[in-house]
Symmetry: C2
Subunit: 276 residues, 2 copies
Amino acid sequence: MMGRAMTAILSSNHQAPAEAFALPAPLVAIDPAKRRTPAEEARALVAANSLATLSTLSEDGGPWGSLVAYATIEHGTPVLLVSTLAEHGRNLPRDPRASLVIASDEAIGGDQLNSGRVTLAGRCEVPVGEELEAARAAFLEAVPMAKHYIDFGDFSLYVLRVDRVRWVGGYGRMDTADAASYAAAETDPVVKSAAYAVAHLNEDHAEHLLLIAQKLSGYTDATHARADRADRYGLDITVTTPRGKAPTRVAFAEAITAPDGLRAASVELVRRAREL
Amino acid sequence: MMGRAMTAILSSNHQAPAEAFALPAPLVAIDPAKRRTPAEEARALVAANSLATLSTLSEDGGPWGSLVAYATIEHGTPVLLVSTLAEHGRNLPRDPRASLVIASDEAIGGDQLNSGRVTLAGRCEVPVGEELEAARAAFLEAVPMAKHYIDFGDFSLYVLRVDRVRWVGGYGRMDTADAASYAAAETDPVVKSAAYAVAHLNEDHAEHLLLIAQKLSGYTDATHARADRADRYGLDITVTTPRGKAPTRVAFAEAITAPDGLRAASVELVRRAREL
């Protein structure tokens, strides 16, 4: 049996053999569940993490990667604190072009490549005035240890002016977002609580998840359901059926607006599933 | 009290205020314990992980980062499998310059920046002949899922010819290795078992660790000892003393040559400490 991941890969226009790899379809048609936009996915990854790989240009124009901590100010603008003792800190004053890769360590089904990551590419600038104050405060909040060295002469704060955004959500989930959409997107309020909620649903509410999947996702023959991801709009679920496994999704009744909203939204799903 | 991390930062030639930040010194002088070379540290990080951030050059010459899985063939040469559906897969045929950042998710003392990472920079080449066979076999072993797509027309295997190696082991531990040293370095046989051994020592052998630190690292006044890292040559330990905390290290009697060697080497440390 072909796994969901493989089928998703094959759905992405690869120059693949023309064989058919069909996932089991829902037995009852349901409307597609609302998802985060690629820009919202990007903002969620940026908000959920604090380490990134920075790519800059070395003296010979070759690409140079290095690990950095980052913070963000408004519009999801990343803030970096770099030292000229590090190669990236010597590269940026010479050529401000840079990209940041932020990768989630939450892998679906234990497959490391089936996880979220985003590339933000643009130009680094030294902030001034109010933006410098905001960048400094944000960085010190994200990396409290930096209070010991932020004022050293070899360190500089930079902000990354994001021009291009490429988001990959795992196998077969990927898209590009333009800079304006990225800047305007709202950060998902449940970004910090989603991983715990997913683990809790899987460990303590397997029967509720199965009921939700059977009644609300159209897989009426589901025999098992695993929560993969949670966001403000709904749950990504992998269902097991006698016809094979398939990824599906159920939407919450309303988009969550508070960091602690996942519990109530999940309870509402169970209530709705029971009524059907 | 200044933490070890901060003191280590200050030892690295930053343009820092001229204040003195002294770590407590050992009360008994001991010889420096043997460490892995920077090239060996780099090879250990490469061997211990399977995901990296690849930096390539976009069409406009700007740096572009993306997440990739990698394998290695002899001399620690990284192997990548990239699709022209991804930007990095279109970048490499145009300009083969690339770098890979491989970062450990094991952070000392819970501080994310106090962790190991390495940048390998060089040029990507399409392997041929026996090297292609070795690269293909290595990649399929590292990423079994790839058997489903490795033969698609849009995917190509590349090897990274490593020119430059920059290793950062955490605060104040960093160095550059040349390509020849990197290629010649032996992979530490305990690289896969070290994290478990460190956790086991801390959880179940706190008294043994303290005895080792007191007798073998010169901190005769240590009141607590925490193992931070283990490698084939010894243990990195943080000691707590009435004079403050300090990082120290004890060497094994002999370099470990087998993957399961950490247990016997640690037992030997305890035996030696008891005899003193």
